[in-house]
Symmetry: C2
Subunit: 247 residues, 2 copies
DNA sequence: GAGTGGTCTAGACCACACG
DNA sequence: GTGTGGTCTAGACCACTCT
């Protein structure tokens, strides 16, 4: 006896390691606790550091661990549920929304965004940058693309800059009647700028939420929201329960 | 000058590689086209294979590439939008739903699921397994947990097995009045079983959708749906547009 | 400066698909 | 059998954080 190798196809080491570590996290570690460093863990399990890291990477992807260079690997708290419910039909920047305006610039939108802006294509576009906080931590960044044609009140000479200007754009947007919202979620990897704001490395996995704001039969604005995939669970409806993936 | 190194902090090789490859995919390759193999690509760019693979991994995560052992690396088609809209309030298995019932077993639900089943905790639970197809390919698997108490019509002796039994459970479920749905989306990694059905390796990134079906003031059923993160974009509302992450 | 995770190398062998 | 991606090793050095 003394063998656990009953599978027809042997499991890769890193996957077995992942299982072992996962169970250890459940039983032997508390949230926030710091794990032994990678070199010691690798030695303890008798594998190369690269193999250990493969297991740690997946556990981090699943939100079980948090790794920070120069600091160490800690046990992550359960994911926070962030509401992205489109039920309450309101514009971004409406009273009570969870976002904080950080800046605004006038740019040409990315080609893919320009396509969905439809009728508004060609004119200048405001890019409003916002951040969403939860429990004192940035969980998402957003760039809201608003064609100048959607906010005619902004057409005058603008002396305001940065956040104030962004808030002005949102104010103007809120004057329109919102026809509806369309939303999509997909997996992406954080661009350098977003990664910095989210305190992650570039390329970190993120959940990208694309929202089209409809008004007067057209697309009045498009938002690209980038949520930390390791720490966030996006909720729709009034789902207030906890993650079912915890164990 | 002949130098492109203007950054204060040099970019890691794999990240630069990713950018270069990404641009090459846009301009020099067609969807479905097969790339040179990893050993040749690594040689061509003058890096170790492991470094090249780090770039390929992220591109696959973003849905730009598809890698298959024994076959090669191909350029992935744009992600398919799959509707997970909770607006049409209906039970799983209602006419017109996109899922195909594959089997059914009676099990104890995972601890985390049992917790959200609330009032029904303790009794036997049906686990109905379903698959969602799109364009002839499995894009998602689902396990629907239905407490026996939710489907009293099933309490008799059951001679049916597998898919037929699963359909019977769904039929019974559809007799109840649906009070509402609550939904959450988060990143996970495919368990071995799901990975097999989705034609992916275990650990592949997936979007996990948790749905609670409410009836008579309680949770009548809970579904855990696992979507391929590389090929799927989950849409809410009537969002029929294409991905904005394409470029 | 010491210790951490992040990047990188140059190999090796394995599992799988296909002809 | 041949070629592909998947796993694994044993090192090395770098970037970052904390003291």
């Amino acid at each position: 006896m003394g063998t656990t190798r009953l599978e027809t196809v042997p499991e890769p080491k890193y996957r077995h390691l992942k299982t072992v570590l996962s169970e250890a996290l459940d039983s032997e570690f508390a949230v926030g606790e710091i794990l032994p460093n990678e070199r010691e863990l690798a030695a303890r399990f008798g594998v190369a550091r690269a193999t250990l890291r493969q297991a740690l990477e997946q556990l981090e992807l699943e939100g079980r661990l948090q790794r920070r260079r120069g600091v160490g690997t800690t046990v992550a708290p359960p994911r926070v549920g962030v509401d992205v419910n489109p039920v309450r039909h309101s514009w971004p920047g409406a009273p009570g929304d969870a976002w904080q305006t950080e800046g605004c610039e006038e740019t040409a939108p990315p080609a893919a965004v320009a396509g969905t802006l439809g009728a508004y294509t060609g004119g200048p576009v405001y890019a409003v940058h916002r951040v969403r906080m939860a429990h004192g931590q940035a969980v998402a960044t957003e760039t809201l693309y608003v064609p100048a044609a959607s906010v005619p009140g902004m057409s005058g000479i603008e002396t305001e800059a940065g956040a104030a200007r962004g808030r002005a754009v949102l104010r103007e947007l809120n004057r329109l009647e919102l026809g509806g919202q369309e939303r999509a979620v997909e997996l992406g990897s954080a661009r350098a700028e977003d990664a910095r704001r989210l305190d992650r490395l570039p390329g970190a996995p993120v959940l990208v939420v694309t929202t089209r704001y409809l008004a007067a039969g057209g697309t009045a604005a498009v938002a690209l929201s980038t949520y930390r995939a390791d720490t966030c669970r996006l909720t729709f409806g009034d789902f207030a329960g906890v993650s079912l993936l915890a164990s």
